[in-house]
């Protein structure tokens, strides 16, 4: 079964508003990543947060991680029409550091639509 599950499945907002997407996972992780996908093709890495971190920022992106709740959130501030895409969280789900290095488990994604 998939490790990460994003919520909501779809989100529609106006430009300038903030967009918040959530991700829940099932097992212990070393890292959690967020990726973006345009038009069903290649994914682009956005940000990685390690299991010992609680919050991380990158430009207009803010990611939080709560390992006790096995959840993460991605906040995009001051959204733009160009942010329209699918957003995926991905976890490594390594029970032993390095044992399954590299293999990622993806959720089904949140489809974000930002209207001009």
């Amino acid at each position: 079964s998939q490790q990460g599950e994003e919520d909501p499945q779809a989100l529609s907002i106006q430009e300038g508003e903030n967009a918040t997407m959530n991700c829940s996972y099932k097992t212990s992780i070393n890292n959690l990543q967020w990726y973006r996908q345009n038009s069903g093709r290649g994914l682009v890495h956005l940000i990685l947060i390690r299991s010992n971190e609680r919050e991380k920022h990158s430009g207009r992106l803010r990611v939080t991680l709560d390992t006790s709740k096995k959840s993460s959130s991605l906040l995009i501030t001051a959204s733009r029409a160009a942010d329209t895409a699918s957003y995926f969280c991905a976890t490594d789900a390594s029970l032993k550091r390095g044992s399954t290095l590299g293999r990622l488990y993806f959720g089904r994604g949140t489809q974000l639509t930002v209207w001009p």
């Binding site: 069903g40 590299g102 990622l104 488990y105 089904r108």
Partner: protein, 113 residues
């Protein structure tokens, strides 16, 4: 620099035919991954190569699927006797050893008719 490239970008094949999908990873990246994505779904892990180690094939859905990586660089995913349920976008990614960020290619959209 050049990113991950995949070919062909689109492939339409008849049920029962074999197909080969190619991936050129970023130069110097020792790890290479294949995923597939069905319409509206997340990414399903298929196989993972790391350097000269034995590949992790645990995600391959059946023995009709195989992959190889020659010279630690280019990889080919082969699907034999294709079925309609094989229709999906096949994505390749690469990364450096011991870094977790993966760099994805544009994918190959496979349609089995």
């Amino acid at each position: 620099g050049a990113g991950v490239s995949q070919s062909p970008s689109n492939k339409v094949t008849e049920k029962g035919k074999d197909v080969e999908l190619r991936c050129d990873p970023i130069s110097g990246h020792t790890a290479l991954y294949w995923y597939r994505q069905s319409l509206g779904q997340g990414l399903e892990f298929l196989i993972y190569f790391q350097g000269n180690s034995a590949p992790d094939k645990s995600g391959l859905p059946s023995d009709r699927f195989s992959a190889e990586r020659t010279g630690g660089s280019v990889s080919t995913l082969t699907i034999q006797r294709t079925q309609q349920e094989d229709s999906a976008v096949y994505l390749c990614a690469s990364s450096t050893y011991r870094t977790y960020e993966q760099y994805f290619g544009p994918g190959t959209r496979l349609t089995v008719t």
